[in-house]
Amino acid sequence: MKPRHKRLILVLVALALLGLGATFVLKAFRSNLVFFYTPTEVFAGQVPQGQAFRIGGMVLEDSLQRNEDGVTVRFAVTDTMENVPVQYTGILPDLFQEGKGVVAQGRMDKQGIFVADQVLAKHDENYMPPEAAEALERARKIKMEAE
């Protein structure tokens, strides 16, 4: 075997071991790599107890309410299985909308309301002009009425 063949095998074996190691590390740190928890995970008790965490999902349709003070909002975050009520005082990002993705950071209070100190809008991977979005919305409504 020539030296360069040896080196080739050495590099390949090292890369394979490294990949394997990385896989195990990532699996072990899985929960730490999650940016947010879903409402289902919240109800299943898979979230860190007594400390701040993030929940993510869709803003439930028709759930957004503004308090009289004008800066406190209440809405529900849903993953279509479970809903978590959220309360937030502050300015919402421009893309915050009912039926769109959201990530909120905060902690659960005793009444089971998630008190957020930061709300981020989560954008999806769909990019289209407003006319196309309107056409899709119309088609969706026609389909719903037909049902």
Binding site: L18, V34, F35, Y37, V119, K122, N126, Y127, M128, P129
Partner: protein, 225 residues
Amino acid sequence: MATFFFLVAAILTVWGLYIGFFVAPTDFQQGESYRIIFIHVPAAWMSMLIYLVMSFWAAIGLIMNTRLSSMMAHALAPTGALMTFVALWTGAFWGRPTWGAWWVWDARLTSELILLFLYIGYMALRASIEDPRRGDRASAILALVGVVNVPIIYFSVQWWNTLHQGASVSLTKSPTMATSMLTGMLVMALAFWMYSIAVSLMRVRRIIRDREGNATWLSESSGVQ
């Protein structure tokens, strides 16, 4: 040769930006701020691709003990670092109005930041070792160790819940964006390719001249003293 690639890059950039700013429609949710993708996505793609190409040349240099492949790897590193920086920077500018935060520690953003550190570490290690051949070998090992990060960046949005959205364009499914937006983005990606090839060729020429300046083959072939 580099001049040719620079020319193509310039033409494609003008064309791509024209599509990006004048032809592509406004996005239904984000308004005009989505137009950052014409820079952001090509830069992010290049940052990962250049790392793969760089590690490939570094590995060839390590295995075959060839000097030129190591030099090619070194020539690619600064461009890769630049692309990573541009991707992070434009992403922050987009994130502030869209998400409501300049920076979040989600898996996609963090792994891309690690990529920037890998590039910087690679260049620093290479520069800190006096003997060029030893520097080649040491930095090649660093580059190869860092290669595990590239699939992590790419798949992070699928493997974990991240704030960063999933891929709009991938090899396995049809793109989820309007055609003219996609065209603009792909033209810009091609422009970034051409630019990267052009600067890397120029840089590798400099490196060859610096390191092999005394070699007879160089002075015979190009007339460089």
